[in-house]
């Protein structure tokens, strides 16, 4: 449904996205994952026709985004990261405005608006000014507005950033509804729990795609073992073993240490090091790897290149 080939986008001297290639199949939920300024927004903007690529080729439904942006506009619904509807228009006025712009037929308008208001659970707020909606409601309204012209592809730029957990969950419920109707979804997010809801994810780091696969596969095929241990002086304990042989990364979460090592046999040497320095650290126990662990390793590998 979407094909990105060798996409590069340059702003003056900074390269925001470098030589990106990936495909998104029809009906898929594809996640663009990565830290801030990794190039997620730029990638989505190019696919949505809001920006032109510096080089490379991007097609949506077989249509080239630079050759025929008008046709792409009809195919896609794009929801920018920042709330981009009119704060001084009411919920209904905003929806009607975008319906008009997309030329949706007047006859079915009332029904369509009512259905989307119901879908976004905003029916009772329909005459409220958009600026007076809560953050979560604004996101739902923005989603409803992008669905006004029943697009076949949804591009969502960090739609749940800065939204409370309950609204986040509700938003994903709405996305599931949309997905079940066969709409292809590309969503960018900094949250890894959301990444795991996607069928495929692309990991962006400093403008480059460093991995692109099924998130479960990325996690399970990680060549590392993960241990956890409790330590009173977790920072000192971490420092002590960080450079030991076979230790890939160590992270601390309060008094919890999370150690990634290349082989399970490293546990003995690590514990011996702690014991020798007299630090009070509990025994290492092997735990289930998480997607986050896989990402940390991939980014580390990329950095050492």
């Amino acid at each position: 449904m979407i094909s990105v080939q060798n996409l590069t986008k340059q702003f003056n001297t900074t390269i925001a996205v470098h030589n990106l290639s990936f495909d998104v199949n029809e009906g898929q939920v594809f996640g663009l994952i990565g830290p801030d300024s990794a190039g997620k927004t730029t990638t989505l903007r190019v696919i949505s026709t809001a920006m032109r690529p510096t080089s490379g080729r991007v097609t949506v439904g077989g249509v080239d985004v630079t050759r025929d942006p008008g046709a792409v506009n009809q195919l896609i619904g794009y929801m920018p990261q920042r709330f981009a509807l009119y704060p001084d228009l009411t919920v209904v006025e905003n929806l009607n405005f975008f319906a008009d712009i997309f030329g949706s037929p007047r006859a079915r308008r009332g029904e369509l608006v009512a259905r989307l208001l119901g879908f976004a659970r905003l029916t009772e707020f329909q005459s409220r000014l958009a600026r007076n909606l809560s953050g979560g409601m604004q996101k739902k309204l923005a989603l409803a507005a992008t669905l006004m012209h029943t697009p076949r592809v949804l591009l969502l730029d960090e739609p749940t950033t800065g939204v409370d957990p309950v609204s986040r969950r509700e938003f994903w419920d709405l996305l599931t509804d949309v997905h079940l109707q066969g709409v292809t979804i590309v969503i960018s997010t900094p949250y890894l729990d959301e990444a795991e809801r996607c069928a495929r994810i692309g990991l962006l780091y400093r403008g480059e795609l460093i991995a692109c696969d099924d998130p479960r596969k990325l996690r399970d095929e990680m060549r590392a073992v993960v241990f956890e241990a409790q330590a009173e002086q977790s920072l000192r304990a971490r420092k002590l073993i960080e450079r030991s042989e076979g230790v890939l990364t160590v992270s601390t979460h309060g008094d919890l240490l999370r150690v990634l090592a290349d082989r399970a046999e490293r546990a003995g040497a690590i514990q011996a090091a702690w014991r020798a320095s007299g630090l009070a650290v509990s025994d290492l126990r092997a735990v289930k790897p998480r997607l986050e662990d896989a990402f940390v390793l991939m980014i580390q590998k990329q950095e050492s290149k």
Binding site: R52, D88, D100
Partner: protein, 373 residues
């Protein structure tokens, strides 16, 4: 009709009516400007503060002082005892003119000799000074003719000679307001349309809504026209408002054809809207847009003949003024409102605007892109 265009226009009207601040600027500021400029920017000079040192103290000297007072140009505020006091009053700015009548003035007149009177004028403001200068002379001349008549015992007008009878056309009372108000209308038209066009487009960028708009099938021209049309409406409303208030408060005569005025205004608006559009392609924030609008407007106001007559400017400055649309609009406004002229005498202006307007608008449209970059 094009539904996308209509929906943009409708949305823009909602923005206007829901924003009390811009409503105030649109409908109240023109009135304030009109009142301020109508009253304050007056160059009508009357009743200048004047000091008199009458060293003569005769009937003749008192007659002369009375003649100045009666002329209505001079208000005798001070009668002083020596010349230094007059100098002090002039220094402090308490008076703009001083009359010194030396002793022997009456005597000389009685003997049939020439009598001299010193007339001091504060020249720091040239407009005031030149009026005072002219008035001082004409009053003095009238006075000497009277004296001559009395001495000769004949009516001087019966002796022949040249008699000038000036007749002032269009604005017989030489009221500044009648001259200023048509100009204020031109300035308001320019101010509102340039600034608000720039602001409304920059605001879409600043508040991020442009990002949603650019991914819709809307075309650049629809966006531009849709955003500009409501402000043309506002501009015409203001035009009517200022015209009405001008008649009400300042008795501005409307001698010409109002529909013609509206049609020609539309031609002018093409240039000012074009400027606004051009600014919106450069400015990143609403503040920048506002600042640039002023920057474009200011030289326009000075080089359009708003305050200062263009004819008096050096050649190169006059050359610059040819690219300033307000220059042509002021001639049109003053021509239609004050002189009541029709289209033929305004053809030069109309042609100039008809060239400038599409040129500016085309340049702006070319720079305007429906894109985030």
């Amino acid at each position: 009709m094009n539904s996308r265009l209509v929906s943009i226009i409708r949305k823009e009207f909602i923005h206007i009516i829901r924003d009390p601040r811009s409503l105030a600027i649109m409908f109240v500021i023109p009135i304030i400007q009109l009142i301020l400029l109508g009253y304050a920017a007056t160059t009508d000079i009357r009743r200048l503060n004047t000091a008199v040192y009458d060293a003569d103290r005769t009937i003749q000297s008192r007659q002369l002082i009375e003649a100045y007072r009666a002329s209505d140009y001079f208000a005798i505020r001070y009668n002083v005892g020596n010349e230094t006091e007059i100098a002090e009053l002039l220094d402090r700015g308490d008076v703009r003119a001083g009359i010194i009548i030396p002793s022997g003035y009456g005597d000389n007149l009685a003997k049939g000799k020439a009598a001299q009177v010193a007339f001091l004028i504060d020249g720091s403001d040239p407009t005031v000074a030149s009026t005072a200068f002219a008035a001082s002379q004409s009053v003095g001349q009238a006075q000497s003719i009277q004296i001559l008549q009395r001495r000769l015992g004949v009516d001087v007008t019966q002796l022949g000679g040249v008699e000038i009878r000036p007749r002032v056309w269009y604005n017989p009372e030489l009221k500044s307001a009648s001259y200023m108000i048509p100009a204020v209308m031109g300035m308001i038209l320019q101010f509102l349309t340039t600034m608000f066009t720039a602001l409304t487009i920059v605001r879409e960028r600043e508040q991020g809504t442009i990002e949603q708009l650019v991914v819709t099938p809307i075309k650049s021209w629809e966006l531009v026209v849709g955003k500009v049309v409501p402000y043309i409406g506002v501009a015409f409303f203001d035009l009517a408002e200022v015209l009405f208030m001008g008649v009400l408060l300042f008795d501005v005569p409307i001698r010409g054809n109002v529909p013609l005025l509206l049609v020609l205004s539309l031609l002018f608006l093409l240039t000012t809207l074009g400027f606004g559009l051009l600014i919106s392609t450069v400015a990143r924030t609403q503040q920048e847009a506002m600042f640039l609008s002023f920057l474009v407007m200011l030289p326009g106001i000075f080089l359009s003949g708003f305050f200062f007559p263009l004819e008096a400017m050096p050649g190169w400055l006059q050359a610059v003024s040819y690219v300033i649309p307000l220059r042509y609009m002021l001639v049109i406004l003053r021509g239609i409102i004050l002189k009541g002229v029709g289209l033929p005498p305004l053809m030069d202006q109309v042609i100039a605007l008809a060239i400038l307007g599409p040129l500016i608008f085309a340049a702006a449209s070319m720079r305007f892109r429906k894109s985030l970059e």
